[in-house]
Symmetry: C2
Subunit: 141 residues, 2 copies
């Protein structure tokens, strides 16, 4: 393989699947306040930041109703996503989740000094919020 791939500047679309799309769309709008870009029976898109978008798909429809416009895909079972918050943001997220009746499944400290909280969306996807980079740099001890 060639040694120098053209640059990739980031991840534009991150995808989660939800068999019952409506409840999960409401969750990401209501809990996170992400502005919704599109909504159909097949899926929904949300703006997360200037460069990245969260896509939710109904897996059977994403696998079958592409109309030849986009390649088919569609996974089943719980996926995972981790969002970033401000370095002092986890306290406010704990309070918000408590107010909304959303159970925190786990908390974890990381060697980088960051901390994560984990909970579930209505589709069972594992949702994490981290208050910093939880991954060391490649090659770092």
């Amino acid at each position: 393989m060639a040694d120098h791939p053209p640059a990739i500047t980031g991840i534009h679309e991150t995808v989660l699947y939800a068999p019952h799309l409506d409840h999960t769309v409401e969750f990401y709008e209501g809990v996170f306040g992400f502005p919704r870009i599109t909504l159909s029976d097949r899926g929904a898109s949300f703006r997360v930041d200037d460069t990245s978008v969260l896509l939710l798909f109904q897996p059977e429809l994403a696998a079958s109703e592409t109309d030849g416009k986009v390649p088919a895909h569609g996974a089943t079972g719980p996926g995972h996503i981790c969002f970033s918050c401000e370095p002092d943001g986890l306290g406010a997220w704990r309070a918000r989740l408590k107010n909304l009746g959303i159970a925190i499944e786990m908390e974890r400290d990381w060697p980088t000094g960051a901390r994560s909280i984990y909970f579930r969306d209505p589709a069972g996807n594992s949702v994490e919020i981290a208050d910093g980079d939880i991954w060391r740099s490649p090659g770092e001890a």
Copy 2:
């Protein structure tokens, strides 16, 4: 629900699943050149940019072998991810994929002026590279 969620600053982890992890790990290292952070039977992590990481998981192991350290997850079937490249970067990506014998499944122009190419990773996930933002802003006509 409260009206002002604490800020989310981005997506830190984007996840894809691969039942045969080795080939898919080789694909993301070899095709994209992403620096690998970690590798185990259960999964691998790659640094994509300063703020985001791509995680690959073997779905059965991710669902069963958490050792209580992280919540279980694990999806089966083809997922989807879209990477961003430089505005003039798609030509170099087309050439690289051709050299590597990787078929482009589809190309698409978007109303934003951006263009995408689609291909498959060894696990069947739909991989897209877009040369700009393919999503309009929320509320934009």
